[in-house]
Amino acid sequence: MITGADWFSRPPFLHSMYALARPDGFNGTFGERIMVAQVLDGLTTRHGACRIVAYADLSSNLVLVTNSGVKAPREALDALCGQAADAFAKPPIASPESCDVAIIAHGAETLIYLRHPVVQTDALCCVCGAGIDLPSFVQDARDCLGELTGPRDGAEAAG
């Protein structure tokens, strides 16, 4: 298993290509990091209006892995994660705990946040253009989060 220290000691190009490390270590192997980045890259490839997808931990407000084209500073990504946590803090729907998607459209930018329905600390934070096809993207992003964290019905994810 790779630790945070090991990760930071790796060549910088790997950081930019595959991941942003959590200081206390992402609980995954290097191969798993790459797998996560590939899933995120797939989402941005299929939805060209989506520029940034970050796999994040809402409990610590930290981004774990992003798609590979991201050049945003780490602090900006963590701030994005903080916004996601805020968006899910008090969702005004009938059963707030079941809220798994929050969207903020403002000007030319649309922020889309998804949290796993079972492991609610696992989230995707997405920065998209106003032209994103929301119904299609939300469905696809839900599937991606399920692929990364586990099935949405909790069959494996809760463990």
């Binding site: 209006a49 008090k90 005004p92 998607v101 903020i104 000007g107 253009g129 096809d133 119904p135 299609s136």
Partner: protein, 248 residues
């Protein structure tokens, strides 16, 4: 710069924000007739150099020739669509029968079926004589019942009114006063909860969804709209927001 080089650069710029299905761009995954025709008009408005724009939805297909952000003519249409009187001839703003026929064609295409709408773009020769040939998007919008937003009505008023049939319930507040309402009665408590969500002065649209239900809060200045809707109406909510965004 040659036409080909310019075309390549324009396509490269446009491609950054598009979804693709093979060689076709996905304009929308689903939506009502008005959303379809809005997308078609956007494509015409984005077309600077002469191009053949082929739109597909289900088995239906129409091929339009556009140039200089204007519709110049109809190159082709799939069987069953009313395009016989339009094919392979240029159209101009004086030809009212052609404008009406274009309206019939767009209505038939937009209502043909549900599902994604895709577009492909290919170089084409012009169908009109000069750069002012064809129909501008503004003229098409008016002719196709997509009239400009009435400026005497606030943008969020349009936003709510356009969702009359798509949402379960919706309400608009100006300050603390209720100035608009659509949908079913009896959802006041839910809408109050949505109005109570933290929001800046906007213009911003916020949506919260589960797999079973969805709510939204749109804010512009002192105007607020709260919506309760089924998740499958998300595309309609987005289309209505997109439609009024130009008014901000």
């Amino acid at each position: 710069m040659s036409d080909d080089a310019l075309r390549a650069k324009l396509q490269l710029l446009a491609a950054d924000a598009d979804d693709w299905d093979g060689a076709s761009r996905i304009l929308m995954s689903d939506g009502g007739p008005e959303a379809v025709i809005t997308k078609v008009l956007e494509e015409i408005d984005n077309t600077v150099l002469s191009a053949r724009l082929t739109f597909r939805r289900g088995d239906a297909e129409i091929a339009l020739v556009a140039s200089g952000r204007r519709l110049q003519g109809v190159a082709d249409a799939s069987e069953g669509l009313p395009a016989d009187n339009l094919k392979d001839r240029s159209i101009d703003g004086e030809d009212q029968s052609a404008i009406a026929a274009c309206g019939d064609l767009r209505r038939a295409f937009a209502n043909v079926s549900a599902g994604p709408v895709t577009a492909t773009t290919a170089p084409s020769t012009r169908m009109g004589g000069d750069t002012e040939a064809g129909l501008s998007v503004r003229l098409l919008s008016e002719a196709w019942d997509l009239t400009p937003l009435d400026p005497s009505i606030p943008p969020l008023g349009h936003f709510l009114a356009r969702l009359d049939e798509a949402v379960t319930a919706g309400m608009m507040l100006r300050g603390a006063e209720v100035v608009g309402q659509v949908g079913e009665d009896g959802h006041g408590l839910t809408l109050d909860k949505v109005f109570g969500a933290e929001a800046d002065a906007g213009p911003t649209l916020r949506v919260w969804m589960s797999e079973a239900d969805a709510v939204a809060l749109a804010v512009q200045g002192q105007d607020k709209v709260a919506l309760l809707f089924a998740p499958d109406a998300l595309g309609d909510v987005q289309a209505s927001w997109t439609r009024i965004s130009s008014a901000f």
